[in-house]
């Protein structure tokens, strides 16, 4: 068998490395095949100031729909994101987490602010009701409804428990269902922070 000359061998290795480097990043979760700008979110933050995605261009946004009366899934998600931000260290400055309440009747902006700040001082709460909230939910494919079998005074809300990832240009990249590992989300966020897209 004919031996490869060392120079040819090294050339092959370099070609292989270049090929590997050009492999496009595949986002975890349920990535959008043809990513589009994230739908607008015409809601207000907990200070009553209208929220505009454009104001956060240059930041990576993790967006979630939940409610403060949620005893299990929402607090678990908020705690997981806090862990992810902790893993990022200083780079977490490039990431914003926002939760849109799907329970605007009980989650007043004040309640939302108090609740979220106990998880992380940087968390943003977004509030809206009626048609404006329904439009945002529909645009993101989010479902929520009051669980009629639960206690009417302490009702629960069934809801899509997905974290949406929006890149620095405002493009909606992927969504993670509940149960996605922190590593999966972290890997995508770190990729966006490196700005290789």
């Amino acid at each position: 068998m004919k031996k490869l000359r060392p120079s040819v061998f090294f050339l092959l290795i370099i070609c292989l490395l270049i090929a590997c480097a050009n492999v496009p990043h595949v986002f975890n979760g349920s990535p959008y095949q043809n990513p589009n700008p994230a739908p607008p979110i015409p809601l207000v933050d907990t200070s009553g100031i209208p929220f505009q995605l454009e104001d956060y261009h240059g930041k990576i946004i993790l967006l979630y729909f939940g409610y403060t009366f949620c005893p299990d899934v929402c607090p678990s998600t908020l705690a997981s994101v806090r862990q992810i931000l902790g893993e990022l260290g200083d780079s977490s400055q490039e990431v914003v987490f926002a939760m849109i309440t799907v329970d605007p009747d009980r989650d007043s902006p004040e309640v939302l602010e108090g609740y979220l700040s106990r998880f992380h001082p940087g968390y943003i709460g977004l509030w809206g009701d009626g048609e404006e909230l329904e439009n945002v939910k529909q645009a993101y494919g989010v479902f929520s409804e009051i669980d009629l079998e639960s206690d009417p005074l302490n009702y629960l809300v069934s809801h899509t428990a997905r974290i949406f990832l929006i890149d620095k240009e405002g493009i909606l990249r992927t969504g993670y269902s509940f149960g996605a590992s922190n590593e999966e989300i972290l890997s995508d966020v770190e990729y966006l922070i490196r700005g290789e897209s």
Binding site: P71, P75, L78, A79, F119, H159, T160, S177, F178
Partner: protein
Amino acid sequence: MRYRRIGILAIVALASACNTAPGEITVSSPWTRSGLEGENSAVYFEITGGPYPDTILSATSEIAGEVMLHKSIMDEEGTMRMEHQENVPIPAGEIVKFVPGGLHVMLIGLNQDLVTGELIELKLLFDNAGEVIIHAPVKNP
């Protein structure tokens, strides 16, 4: 004769031990999430079944207005729903985990703030093992 008596006593003692076998169920790694009075929280832990099957019939605690056995279930669309559990079977020798996003003891309407580092008391009533009291440390939200 003397040895025969000791032998009978040993057999009786062994039989008694077997009768208390369901009590060998163990509850480990309990914890709960901090929260303010009026809010909700949940308690999580692991249960290792004893030599015989058992069932959790109820959970009670002074810490909340309502305490329920619940399970979070995600459907194909990614929607999380909460399902009340009338009881929770604990198969013999198996580990049943109460974890975020799954089985949990839901605390509705906390009667007081749950402060990180403190312990709360929770009573689990088993069909065979009877009442088991656990103390769950409060962790960060």
